[in-house]
Structures are given as C-alpha cells and as structure tokens.
Symmetry: C2
Subunit: 365 residues, 2 copies
C-alpha cells in the first residue's frame, strides 16, 4: 500500500459518493446502504436499466458527475478489469471488486488477477472475490447481502478472508459492538495488513479481529501487529487451514497458502496476538475486549444463579490458568448477611434462586 | 430404588393428579402445567389461600380427594418432612421436593435430609433441592420457573444435578427435540441412575444427556449405563467438578463428591459414554443423536456456502479424527457440471454464493 492508496482507502471507508456497477448485486448494495443509513450520494452505473435502488442509472463510468470516492464492482471479470482501468485513470479513490473467478480458480484466473492489479494503479482495491466493507461508525455498507450488527459508536474491526463467514459474524446475536467489517477476498492489492495498519489508529476501534487463511507478507504483518499492540488495540486471530484438506481449501478459496500452523503459533505468541479456534470465541473475546477492556491480571470474580454454572466456571478457569480468589473473611461475613441461608459463600458465587430476579436483594451482592 | 418406588416413579412421570403444596412456587408450577398442556387434575394445598392458579385450595393433604400420583412440595424444611411422611402414609406415588437447605448446607441440613429420607417410605422422591420433572411427551411440567423446549413426540431425556442449568438448557434455541428434563438435586432417594434405568427403555427417548457432579453408586451407574447402551440409547455426559474450586462447589451445591476426573474418564470410556465439556456440546451432540441417529463410521460429507466455513470444518475434523473423503472422479465430474465456475469441487464443499438460495440449483448438489 503506497501513500496514495492509503489516502484512497480512507476515502473508500467513508465515501461522499458511491458508484454501484452491476445489476442485481449492485441493487443489493444500494439497499444495504439505505438500511445502514448511508448519507452520501449513490450513482448506479448500468447501460441497460433506468434506475437501480430508486437512483437514476448512468450509462458508463465516464458519465458520472465526478470521480467517485467508492465503487462497488459486480460485473463479469473482463469487464471488471477494463472498468477498473478507466476508474483509475479518472481518479476514483477506492473499489470493492466483488467479482470472483480470479486466482482462486487456478492458472487462468491468476493471469486475469495480474491484469486486474496492473489496471488498478493507485486505486484502493479490495478483493477481488470479496464481499466488501461495512463502516458501522459512519454508516457505510459496501455489502452485497443483508448485513447485521450494530454499533454504540465504537467496537471491533473484523478483517476476514471469508465473505460468508464475515456475513455470519455480523448476523450473530452475541451483542458484539461493531466498528468495521472488512472482507478482503484474494488480497490482490489491499491486504489484511493494510487494514490493520489503517484501522488500529482509529479511536473507535477497541480491538481487531482477524480471520486468516494465509498471510502474504509476514514482515509487514509483524510490523502492523506491533503497531496495533503499541496503540493499545489487541488483535484476536482465528487462523484456519491447519489441516491437510483445510490447507488445500484455502488455495481454492482465496488463493492463500495457509502455511505451517506451528510457525503461525510462534508468530502470534511473539506479536502478542490472541489466538482463538472458533468463530464464537472470536466474537466473545472481541466483545470482552471492547466492553471490559484488556484484563490487568488473572484474578476474577464469578457471579451466577446456578450452582452447575459456578462449577463449570471454576473448572474452565483452572484449565486455562485463571484464578477465582477466595473471598476474604470480611467479604465472606458481609456476603453471608446478604445471601439466603441455602447459599454458600464462594467464588464463583451461586447466589441461589431465593434472591434471583429481586434487584434490591441481588444488587448489594 | 425398590420395585414399589419404580412403579411410583412411573406414576410421577405421567400423573393423573398433581397436588401442589406451597404458595408462590406452587402457583408457578400450576402455570407451567397449564403452559405445557397438562390434562390431569391440579389440587393446590394451602390453608391460607382460597385459590391457586385458578384451582380451589385444599386445607391439608388429608382433604385431597385421593392419594395423588404426583406432589410438588415447596414449603419450609420441617413442614416438608412431616408432609412427606403423611403423603407416604396415605399412599401418594411421587414427590418433587423443591425445598432446599438440606445436606448441601452442611451438618444441620444433613440431619434433616436423613429425616426426609426415612419419612419418604416407598415414595418416588425427587430432590430435595431440585427443580423437578418435565415430561414433554405426556405434557407434564412439575417445574417452578418458566420452561422452554419443544418435542416432536421423541427426543432427549436430560438428567441434571443443576436446576438452573436444566432451566437454561430448556431455554436454548438450538432446536433439540426434548422428551424429558429431570433435575435430581441432592438425589437423597431417587438418583440419576434410577432415571437412566427407567427412561432408557422408553421408545420416545432417543438419547440421554447427563450433567453429573458426583455419582453415589458407581456399580449401579455402570449397570444402568450398559442397559442404555444395549437398548441403543447413547448417553452423553457433562461431568463437572474436576477443578479444585469446582469440587468444593459440588459439595455445597448438591452435596456431591465430584471424585477423580481420570477415574470418571476411564469409567465413561468403559461404558461407552460420550463425554462433552460444555453445555452447548451437550445440546448439539444430543441433537445429532436424536435427529440423525448414531453414526456408523468416521466418514462424512460437508456442504456449505462458505469457503471459510469449509476450512473450519476440515481443520476440526482432522483434529478429532473424522474423515472428509475425497469425491470420486465420477462424483467430481457431476459436481463440476452442477456448480458455478468459481466453485472448486472438494469435501467439505463450498458451493459458493452464485447458487446460494436458489433451490433448483442447490438441491441437485
């Protein structure tokens, strides 16, 4: 990512105007922009249709009022390449290339992807073979399917190599506050490293989540991961492709070499990256970091109205090296006064059903 | 469990009449019975109230029309013990003792629990310190809080030592078909072994889920676990209390000695019990067994519309020793014809978004 591309990426993330190029998929993007509350201009480009998503169509990119800050490209491959070239020449800022069928399908696609890259010039090009970008802070959804997720004005930035997985993550009902969702696809121009670089300095980004199939430039990845660490923005990574079949799939999915899992583990340890092994862990770990912040130590307190739940907490904490410290004598005395006689003072604490749902009795505990 | 108690337990599970003894909690049970569609008679017993849940109250158990098949007992400890004695003498069948404050709170409670047990005679006594019994097949909810869960006429029988956990399990939205939910509490008379014994022979029970803090009689547990295995009803166990704090908590929760985790693992292996480590795994494993049946081997097929998801599947399968076998040449050829050119034939298969949501193109795959 050169300096010009960095500026273009900033414009793409929060565009004043968005050209949507294509048919049905472009229409879906217009709808998602409307749903999220995008306030910029939307310019559909389609020579065969009058209107898309209620907006008047332009016949070609040359007819647009000015060079667009953002373009959503959902047309066949050859046309996509020539359009990218014209967009670069007219000074557009960024392009999401939703079109697939490039390096992920083999030799023929790899040649086409090379053409796409050289056509892109200084454009901030996301993809190809990606879903795009959602900016929950400034209300921008360059996204081809219904998206979920909400933001209280801050949250996690998630950068993934799987469009459908990122879609699923936005749809989860786990109350993760979102800041950005980026689906990077084949990373032909902009790579996940570039997004870490740009997003980790934004004050609304409290943590960064990564779904990684392969890293193209380990040294740059290390550099930006340390930049995020220094900025106090923790990174949580879901690295896939560790199995034999899985590593073959990452090649056909996003043309990624998944690499040795041991080396990735060593890299993550060195860079202070938190590794998770499941999408739910990714969401819950990010939520913890966004809502509660980075924990200062290993000691914790558990409050539950379930004896079974308290034991599950204690078992798991011991397994992963967290400590439920015992209540002091003074604390134990105070708790005994507050609790029903069937409860036992402990940490984690089961405060028991007699006070369950009675705020004036639970709150003092 | 003697022969008489076994008969009484069968009546308790599907009672013609239910006496609810207590105030607010008894009212909650009446409401849950109404919600599930209980068709038997409901007889509240309360000397101070006219009606509970719309039913006329009886002043004492001696005033009931006849000895009840089931009793829900939610009154203070001393009264509970004397009432159990009178119920046993009048020939009632089963009692759920919701009342807590027995052996789980220490020496004083242990003495009271001994009195409760000797008062119970041949009663099928569940608890004390338990939520009770839900029979989803015959529509019976001897349950003191709102319950969830549905049944297509068959499903899992779950037997737990944590009332709140069992409540949470019924509330999950994971579409597990339920047959029975049993919260056994302190297991002073009826133990989880007894419920395995009785439930594993019912044709509507496709699998049994256990949440275990401690087993009181290992030899009987082994006997009934093998009985279930022979009946083709697999058992899935969530055993808790393996940690230092966790094992202390099981004592104060249900007066259970959680025992050595290694010994439990060996026991489970020997008895063909599937062990899980998380409530979600318990639900999902039971669902698989209830819906798809017991798998015949280790080979599987994965179909997804997510390249990221396909890789996650492949990685996890390799980790746990399952096999995604490669498609044969013939199958690969047929799939290539059915799929979009951006898809790659593999197992697990990402059939890709171009055919996503289009039944006439996805179904042949």
């Amino acid at each position: 990512m050169n300096q010009k591309q960095r500026q273009n990426l900033e414009r793409l993330l929060n565009p004043r105007h968005l050209a949507i190029i294509g048919g049905r998929d472009a229409e879906a993007v217009a709808k998602e922009c409307e749903r999220i509350g995008f306030t910029g201009q939307i310019w559909p480009v389609n020579p065969k249709r009058e209107k898309i998503g209620g907006f008047k169509c332009f016949a070609s990119v040359e007819d647009l009022p000015e060079a667009p800050d953002a373009v959503y490209l959902a047309i066949p491959r050859e046309a996509a390449i020539s359009t990218v070239k014209r967009l670069a020449e007219m000074g557009a800022s960024g392009v999401v290339c939703y079109t697939a069928g490039f390096s992920e399908i083999g030799a023929e696609g790899t040649e086409l992807e090379k053409s796409l890259v050289s056509a892109s010039g200084d454009l901030a090009l996301v993809g190809p073979n990606c879903y795009g970008v959602i900016n929950y802070i400034d209300k921008v959804a360059l996204w081809p399917f219904p998206h979920g997720g909400a933001s209280p004005g801050y949250g996690a930035a998630i950068i993934t190599q799987s469009g459908m997985l990122s879609s699923d993550l936005t749809m989860s009902q786990r109350s993760l506050p979102f800041a950005y969702m980026i689906s990077v696809g084949n990373q032909s121009v902009l790579r996940l490293e570039d997004f870490i670089d740009v997003l980790c300095t934004k004050p609304e980004v409290k943590a960064i989540g990564l779904h990684i199939e392969g890293v193209k430039d380990i040294s740059r990845f290390s550099e930006v991961a340390l930049k995020a660490l220094e900025a106090g923005v923790p990174i949580v990574a879901l690295k896939t492709g560790s199995s034999e079949i899985g590593s073959e799939l990452t090649v056909s999915h996003t043309a990624s070499l998944s690499g040795s899992d041991d080396l990735f583990q060593a890299l993550f340890d060195r860079l202070g990256i938190i590794r998770v092994s499941h999408p739910v862990q990714l969401l819950e770990t990010l939520k913890y970091l966004c809502v509660a912040g980075i924990p200062k130590g290993k000691r914790l307190v558990g409050l539950t109205c379930s004896g079974g739940g308290a034991t599950l907490l204690a078992d798991h904490a011991e397994k992963i090296g967290l400590e439920f410290t015992r209540p002091s004598k003074k604390t134990a005395k105070r708790l005994t006064r507050l609790l029903h006689y069937t409860a036992t003072v402990s940490n984690p604490l089961d405060y028991t059903t007699p006070i369950w749902g009675i705020p004036e009795r639970v709150l003092p505990v």
